[in-house]
Symmetry: C2
Subunit: 256 residues, 2 copies
């Protein structure tokens, strides 16, 4: 059955959505069947894959609160082997609605338990917080991939994120593995990127992916066309980097 | 008494903390007495102003759940006319802890009602969500300033944010004014920035500040030294832009 990877980091704007969309597309291009689950009320992953608001009748919110199954929520994208469970702003109500529920952290895991899919990989795009939505993703995931912007504030939040992952592994999901940290928006022209990258590598060693995603304007232009950068501009540095990332993820999968 | 301005946007990484720290410092440099209230569990504003974790005994979390007054939480910074109410990760528990409380959205407003301060301005740094913490900030604020990164995903979230501000004005805080939108991380080299800026100005007209904050590496280096960019490198483009922003804010205040 499918390998579920949560793309998580509570720091905002570090490239979670961009990594989910483009890593997902690159894995699909490498012949894998991929499902992207949008678990952010902003719905950016759904938009970046070309889904308009009126094409999101059944969403991750409906699945989380038990109104629909994952099967009913899955939609096709323009890429044949890539599908998506979309999100809308309704999702922001889930955290408060689930407060009294003793199984609130297992909702997504329970939904996957009854989901019969031919997907090889499920990638979950998380919102910028460590609340119920992200905990649900971590509780059902096999592994966590952490996009890390090469900036000081992003580095500051890393140890909190690692402690949270450890806590979820101890209390909710003993099988949760750390897939690794991916450096994003790396800018060769500035020392800060080099410094943060060196700090993270000395702190986490091999758990940092060798593939580094450069800051590349084509990456940030692609979502306004509802396309992953691999379709928008396959020759761009950003598209190339995400293709390498998919390759490295598949190699690391064999070692886990 | 003090004018309270919430710095809010649910999109992550758009420059909320950077704007709070540097606009606050520039207002202090212009002779105003400023209090910065860190309402983000990441505690980035506290860090960017040089407060170590062990200097945050009384925090915005203690104030929000009624364990301490604002007076007890205020701390000095290295800038004489700038003080701060720090935040720690404890704050992430507040949302769930306050769920049953009928006055959960007024907690901060109630705290300010009993706070005797000589500050001219209070700036509140909000987390990347529209949950209880941001709603508390909007409920006690006189005005909202919205930092907007010149990127597609940031633009997508703007109408949701404006609807939320409108809802808070109707139901919780009828005096809440829209101070305006400040374009951040503007990069002259790429079309996307120009395009987003043009879109926002045609959509919001005068509510978009004339001052645009450029992408400037000195801005992102400053927090690693625990300093605002106005102290770290006063000659940088970033520092200059924030000084202009303070001037424009004060001019707009006279018109409101
Ligand atoms: N490699 C890159 N080069 C240039 N721009 C990038 C790159 N990666 C992401 N971006 C842009 O940076 C912004 C932040 O990225 P993104 O929205 O993917 O982050 P996020 O972590 O999902 O944010 P949030 O915390 O709000 O969910 C977006 O506008 C995106 O287009
Ligand atoms: N004008 C600028 N030029 C260059 N870098 C900037 C600029 N403004 C902010 N940054 C950097 O961009 C990143 C995001 O900014 P910041 O943390 O202030 O955003 P935020 O909206 O507060 O994020 P969050 O949603 O996580 O609270 C930070 O690493 C910051 O140093
Ligand atoms: Mg995102
Ligand atoms: Mg912030």
């Amino acid at each position: 059955s499918a390998r579920i990877v949560a793309i998580a980091n509570q720091k905002g704007g570090v490239g979670k959505t961009t990594t989910t969309i483009n890593l997902g597309t690159a894995l699909a291009a490498a012949g894998k069947r991929v499902l992207i689950l949008d678990l952010d009320p902003q719905g950016n992953a759904s938009t970046g894959l070309g889904l308009r608001q009126n094409e999101r009748e059944v969403t991750s919110y409906n699945v989380l609160i038990g109104q629909a199954t994952l099967q009913e929520a899955v939609r096709a994208t323009s890429i044949p082997t890539l599908s998506v469970v979309p999100a809308t702003v309704d999702l922001s109500a889930a955290e408060v609605e689930l407060v009294g529920d003793r199984r609130r952290n297992y909702r997504l895991r329970d939904a996957f338990a009854h989901f019969d899919t031919d997907a090889d990989y499920v990638l979950i795009d998380c919102p910028p917080s460590l609340g119920t939505l992200t905990v649900n993703a971590l509780t059902c995931a096999d592994a966590v991939l952490v996009p890390l912007q090469c900036e000081f504030f992003a580095l500051e939040g890393l140890s909190l994120l690692l402690r949270t992952i450890e806590r979820v592994r101890r209390t909710l999901n003993p099988d949760l593995q750390m897939h690794g940290v991916v450096l994003t928006m790396f800018d060769r022209r500035n020392n800060l990127s080099e410094q943060v990258a060196a700090d993270v590598r000395s702190f986490l060693g091999d758990r940092v992916y060798k593939t580094v995603i450069p800051r590349n304007v084509r990456v940030s232009e692609a979502p306004s066309h509802g396309q992953p950068v691999l379709l928008y501009d396959i020759k761009s540095k950003g598209a190339l980097a995400y293709a390498h990332l998919a390759g490295e993820l598949l190699r690391r999968e064999q070692l886990l």
